[in-house]
């Protein structure tokens, strides 16, 4: 090849032939590069489309899994198949693009070589332009340079300002610095679940009303009609009170102003459509559509219904998430209430019989509704609510069902201990005090179990077990000194907590009163709500001593809530707030 340096007029033709070859080489390289590039882009788009479709399908399947845990296996199979299909397709796309990249690199190299080569034949000779006023040009350049440096600084500042647009988030602001889940102190000042903190039914405030009369309105601070019925109990957080209700046409969550009784909002819970071949849920009148009590973490409220529909609303009534856990296989209808532990929403989802392996304890992230862990339970369907007990060895979720009482570690769902001691349709909720948990086998037995065991503690940690009449619905109450149980027909028994020694037995109902609401304790006084809506206030120790009877004038089956000098009672139709007049506050 001739270089332009030794180019003479005689070589012009040869040079132009070389030049043409160089141009042709560059052209071939360019055309080939464009074709390969187009193919690579096409392949990339194909891959992206495929990936987007796959991601969407996968996301739908994931949602379905959490919504239809019953079909988990089939859905997992489907995910596996999709995953394999996608991986194959993606590797084809990757192979194609890798080959394309090599080809593109090669063709671009040919193009660059061609064009550089062609350039050597057309080298521009230096042709300096006439020069004048170098000094003034330098001054002009200096001035422009100053402006351009300043402009660069301005541009950088403008970009930063643009990036700074948007909400200014101050992590130290009081509302931001608030706890993400309520502290035990906050919980103890509220009534965040069925029977309040730890499900104990004990009021933190001992200054509670001791007389009222629904008929005359004495002591009734407000009374509001609940739009839809439900057997669940009121839950109170700050100035908000929550309830749920349901009938065949709707499932609702209600938020009331706890100070004025005004209904603030109604949250609609969408019912999951029935799956093919699925029987519609049959709801017993005694249970109703909304037996489980809602729970709250102080920012959001969670509700579950007899259909397995679960929903979360924030305090303004905005629906956060909802899902369906699958229609529960439950003879009387699902009635276990919800519990919270830190950010976890705990659901005792017991179904079928002990053999059917359908029961589980589910922990969902309260914010997103995603399953954080779930533990299979070898128990039959139950109606009891789990409690989170603060034992000496740390928090334990304690659950009661037929036949096992099981304690779980709340963060992981790992089982801590289990005791085989119950039978039948377990509905009463366990309680915990002084290292002992107290559970009830309907009609026949009250059992105290030490909570410091590990593994199967049936033979080692049952502190005492009394074969005495025991309630089928009402949960026990105790303060570490005594345990009080109340049968539906009004037969009440009181035991010494430490060893189960019977302290007294009394027929409170005397044939006229029956009880569905669980007993509560205010200081050393029992508050026992009859089905007819009469609150019996009585001393529990040293022996039963009735102090007062307060009539509401409406039938009741939900357990009352005790917060801040007020008692909130849900009648079958109305919601009542009872307080001493001096505690009446302006909303």
């Amino acid at each position: 090849m001739k270089s332009p340096d030794n180019n003479t007029s005689g070589d012009v033709q040869a040079v132009s032939a070389w030049h043409r070859s160089a141009v042709a080489t560059a052209l071939v390289g360019a055309v080939f590069s464009v074709i390969v590039l187009a193919l690579i882009v096409g392949n990339y788009i194909r891959g992206r489309v495929h990936e987007t479709r796959w991601e969407k399908k996968l996301e739908n399947l994931r949602i379905e899994i959490s919504n239809q845990p019953d079909d988990e296996q089939a859905l997992l199979e489907e995910i596996r198949r999709l995953d394999l299909e996608f991986r194959r397709a993606m590797f084809r796309v990757l192979d194609f693009s890798r080959t394309g990249s090599y080809l593109l690199l090669a063709s671009l190299s040919v193009f660059v070589i061609g064009i550089k080569w062609a350039g050597t034949f057309k080298e521009k000779m230096p042709a300096p332009q006439p020069q004048q006023g170098a000094a003034s040009e330098q001054i002009r350049q200096a001035m422009l340079a100053r402006w351009s440096v300043a402009a660069a600084l301005g541009l950088a500042g403008a970009v930063m300002l643009f990036l700074a647009i948007g909400p200014r988030i101050d992590f130290r602001a009081t509302d931001a610095a608030a706890d993400s889940y309520p502290t035990p102190e906050k919980i103890s000042r509220n009534w965040h679940r069925f029977r309040g903190p730890e499900g104990a039914g004990i009021s933190a405030d001992v200054n509670m009303p001791e007389s009222w009369d629904g008929k005359s309105g004495k002591g009734i601070l407000w009374k509001t009609k609940v739009p839809v019925a439900g057997h669940n109990s009121p839950v109170v957080w700050g100035d908000r009170l929550f309830l749920s209700g349901g009938d065949p046409n709707r499932l609702n969550v209600f938020c009331f102003d706890a100070l004025s009784g005004e209904l603030l909002w109604t949250g609609d819970v969408k019912r999951a459509p029935l799956k093919p071949n699925e029987e519609p849920v049959e709801v017993m009148e005694d249970t109703g559509w909304a037996a489980p009590t809602v729970t709250t973490d102080g920012k959001r409220v969670f509700a579950i219904f007899v259909t397995g529909d679960l929903a979360c609303f924030d305090f303004s009534g905005r629906s956060f998430w909802s899902k369906n856990l699958g229609t529960p296989d439950n003879v009387y209808g699902y009635a276990s209430s919800l519990e919270m532990y830190r950010n976890l929403l705990l659901i005792q989802y017991d179904q079928g019989d002990t053999e059917s392996e359908k029961s589980k304890l589910i922990a969902l992230d309260g914010f997103s509704g995603r399953v954080v862990w779930q533990a299979k339970r070898p128990v039959a369907n139950s109606w009891s609510t789990p409690i989170v007990a603060r034992t000496d060895s740390g928090p334990q979720i304690i659950t009661a069902a037929d036949p096992w009482v099981i304690a779980y570690e709340p963060n992981s769902g790992a089982e801590i201990w289990r005791a085989e001691c119950l039978a039948g349709d377990v509905a009463p909720t366990p309680i915990y005090a002084n290292g002992l948990t107290f559970v009830i086998e309907p009609y026949s037995k009250t059992v105290a179990i030490r909570t410091d065991g590990k593994g199967d503690v049936t033979k080692t940690h049952i502190a005492w077990s009394l074969d005495e009449p025991a309630p089928d619905i009402c949960s026990p109450i105790g303060n570490g000194e005594f345990v009080f149980i109340l049968n539906s027909d009004g037969l009440a028994l009181c035991f010494k907590a430490a060893d189960g020694e019977k302290l007294w037995e009394e027929d409170i109902g005397e044939g006229r009163d029956s009880f569905l609401a669980s007993p509560s304790l205010v200081g050393d006084k029992l508050y026992l709500l009859t089905e007819k809506g009469i609150m019996i206030i009585a001393e529990v120790l040293p022996k039963y001593n009735e102090l007062a009877r307060c009539e509401l004038g409406e039938e009741c089956c939900a357990s009352p809530a005790f917060v801040d000098g007020r008692i909130y009672i849900r009648g079958v139709e109305n919601l009542y707030c009872i307080g001493k007049e001096e505690t009446t506050q302006e909303p």
């Binding site: 330098q138 422009l144 340079a145």
Partner: protein, 447 residues
């Protein structure tokens, strides 16, 4: 005599040694960064399939570390050769061949990693994070080009850096960028360097690696956005010589300053400048300085006043930019994963965004207190406030010095390659008739 440059190099060596010995764990930087930065293309399935995933290698393959030493040896050899070709042989063609070799070896073969440009971050992080160790090879990659620049000018940029090489190769129709514009654009390189140091020091991100525009070409795969940025640089690079090198490269910023102090450097003419002006437009990078006329008395006085004003402005600029840098801590700190997560959680909690992200879900699954996360994020923001002061102050200093520097009259009688900006590409050599004379004499002597 001890030169100022030697002091700088000695300092850099000491800093490096400190960085190497300060790390407690001997994980090579590449592995560390890979662990931080490499998301799996296919994460393991989310269900039990009975298939045991083969364990990921915990330590790098021995061959890999041998390669790292080979890389250092090749780098050293390439730098020596480049110095010889630029300063002694003065052959553009030879420089070009070495440049193509470097592009193939450091770029396509070694996939653009380790590179001295990114090594800045390893060094910075190792200084601020005692748990992070810089392998000796990375330190060597960082230091060798600096040492060579201090002695021989920017020979690394001339024929060894693969990023420079790929841009040099695609330069087909050079268009000159006016000096004043180039001065302004160069500010971005300083800003890029400052941000890269800030993010590396706070353990937020390796900005230079994340936004390396050419690495996707070297690896023949990569993030689409980066590929597009790289393609834009190359398309612009068809007409504007090495745009990344001149206006963005953070390592180039350091090399520029060291090159000012270099003992030997590129000269356009092999012996004397005869003022023929034939080289005037030879440089596609605008690095040839013309002889300067003297200013008239009035212009001189006015220039002096401007200069005085600008010198007075310097501390104001430093303080103002430092203050502004600290004010932008909320923006800059978003580069840190903790702050990003905390902001996301904050917006989720406040109901200002719908749904969740994988990161926020993972955080919630830990059951950790949001308050703790906010606390941690506030702490990180505090670091960025200090970093913002330093970065802003640095930028104020750069701007102030630049404004001053462009306003100074410099006496020059010959055509010269700019000490800082010359990339030692060798294109201007043959434009000089003295060089042609030298070559023809040499040819004659050989024949």
């Amino acid at each position: 005599m001890i030169r100022f440059g030697h002091i700088i190099i000695a300092t850099a060596v000491v800093v490096n040694l400190c960085a190497v010995v300060s790390g407690r764990h001997g994980l090579p930087a590449r592995e560390n960064t890979a662990k931080i930065a490499a998301p799996q293309r296919f994460p393991p399935p989310e269900f039990e399939s009975g298939y045991d995933l083969p364990p990921s290698p915990a330590a790098p393959h021995p061959r890999q570390s041998i390669y790292e030493y080979i890389d250092v040896a090749v780098l050293l050899a390439a730098l020596i050769l480049a110095s010889y070709l630029v300063l002694k042989m003065r052959s553009r063609r030879a420089i070009f061949v070495l440049m193509v070799f470097s592009l193939v070896y450091f770029g396509f073969w070694r996939k653009g990693c380790v590179c001295p440009i990114g090594a800045i971050q390893n060094i910075v992080l190792s200084i601020f994070d005692r748990d992070y160790a810089v392998p000796i090879t990375v330190s060597a990659f960082f230091l060798l080009p600096l040492i060579f620049t201090l002695f021989f000018g920017r020979v690394f940029c001339s024929a060894v850096c693969p990023l420079g090489a790929i841009q040099d190769l695609v330069l087909l129709r050079p268009v000159s960028v006016p000096d004043w514009l180039a001065s302004g654009l160069r500010v971005f390189a300083y800003l890029y360097l400052g941000l890269a140091v800030l993010f590396a020091a706070t353990g937020s991100a390796f900005l230079i690696c994340r936004y390396d525009p050419f690495v996707s070409f070297f690896r023949l795969s990569g993030n689409l956005n980066i590929l597009i940025i790289g393609a834009c640089f190359l398309v612009v690079g068809l007409f504007i010589g090495r745009p990344y090198c001149r206006f963005f490269c953070p390592y180039g910023v350091i090399l520029r300053q060291l090159s000012r102090l270099s003992r030997w450097r590129v000269t356009i003419t092999p012996d004397e400048c005869i003022g023929c002006r034939l080289c005037e437009d030879a440089c596609p990078f605008g690095a040839i300085r013309k002889p300067a006329d003297e200013w008239s008395a009035t212009e001189y006085v006015r220039g002096k006043k401007t200069l005085a004003l600008l010198i007075l402005l310097l501390p104001v600029l430093i303080l103002f930019c430092g203050w502004a840098g600290a004010r932008f801590k909320n923006v800059t700190s978003r580069m840190h994963s903790t702050v990003r997560l905390a902001e996301r959680i904050y917006l989720e909690e406040a109901g200002e965004v719908e749904g969740t992200t994988d990161a926020s879900l993972a955080f919630r699954a830990t059951g950790r207190e949001v308050k703790d996360l906010y606390e941690e994020a506030s702490g990180v923001r505090g670091q960025f406030a200090i970093g913002g002061w330093l970065l802003g102050g640095f930028m104020g200093l750069v701007i102030g010095v630049k404004l001053t520097a462009v306003s100074v009259w410099r006496q020059r009688t010959d055509y010269e390659a700019d000490r800082a900006g010359c990339l030692a590409c060798g294109r201007c050599f043959k434009h000089c008739p003295r060089e042609r004379l030298r070559l023809s004499k040499k040819d004659k002597a050989i024949s």
